[in-house]
Symmetry: C2
DNA sequence: GTATTTACCTAGTATTTCCATGGGTAAGTA
DNA sequence: TACTTACCCATGGAAATACTAGGTAAATAC
């Protein structure tokens, strides 16, 4: 598995906010219920999104969260990298060249690097606006 | 991370066998030492490769393992699927359509399915022979 | 036929990551 | 002042990961 619930939840929630527009603030409780996600768990995810400036937060009644920018301006890659920390497919490529003693002669490393690049380009090529258009 | 050490070790070991040809059997101990992998851990991986008919095993002195087929006939995908069990990037796509109650209306599911397909085609498009040619 | 070498089998275990849960505090609104 | 909301910190269970340990069975060499 390359993406855990944390990143997947973050993405789904961001899609929700994108659908709702930037007119009003939506409380976390509402999003958690409509998406069927644990409210407490979602809190920790929203904190990350908020601190990174992906969403705008307001306390008190009538408060909640909303997007800070237009859906076109968020790539799936940016959201996932923020919440997941890394999207590396193997640890070989994450830890830098010095981590694995065999990196200089490893026959499989170039393949992992190509895969990482491909996955990164895939995620960077999709925005929230693209996901909104998605139909089943 | 999409591929754990188990799959990565399996791949590296298969490359080793491919490099050594099918003339002689190579004992696990030799491979483990040259690759710097725990001998005992590698045992469990070789058992899987052996049972699947990917390698041929012979007991006693002069015994060991060797490839059963030519390097061109092994795709990276086949080796990884065998040892990792699954190469699904998210659990949404693994557990079948019924697993996630939101699969029919999920705005992100089509993206995960496209990613899975892309990754699968990537791995299926590379053989052991291709890895042998790899240069750093 | 005994010793050695190798693969094969079963079980256990320490560590880490994942996926939350619980309880409180601070900020803003009616 | 009461209420609603975001924010903060600590804890815990479950599963996976990456081994480790100790034995058994098969083949070969002497």
């Amino acid at each position: 598995m390359i993406v855990s619930t944390k990143g997947r939840y973050a993405l789904r929630v961001m899609v929700c906010f994108a659908q709702r527009g930037r007119e009003e603030y939506i409380p976390l409780k509402e999003i958690a219920e409509s998406e069927g996600i644990s409210q407490k768990y979602l809190e920790s995810i929203m904190t990350v999104l908020s601190k990174a400036g992906f969403v705008d937060a307001v306390h008190g009644k009538g408060g909640g969260y909303r997007l800070n920018r237009e859906p076109e301006e968020y790539t799936v890659g940016a959201i996932l990298k923020l919440t997941e920390g890394s999207l590396a497919t193997v640890s070989c490529t994450t830890q830098g060249a010095s981590a694995c003693s065999r990196s200089t002669c490893c026959q499989t490393l170039p393949m992992w690097e190509r895969l990482d690049k491909m996955v990164d380009e895939f995620f960077e090529g999709i925005t929230l606006a693209d996901l909104l258009k998605e139909e089943q």
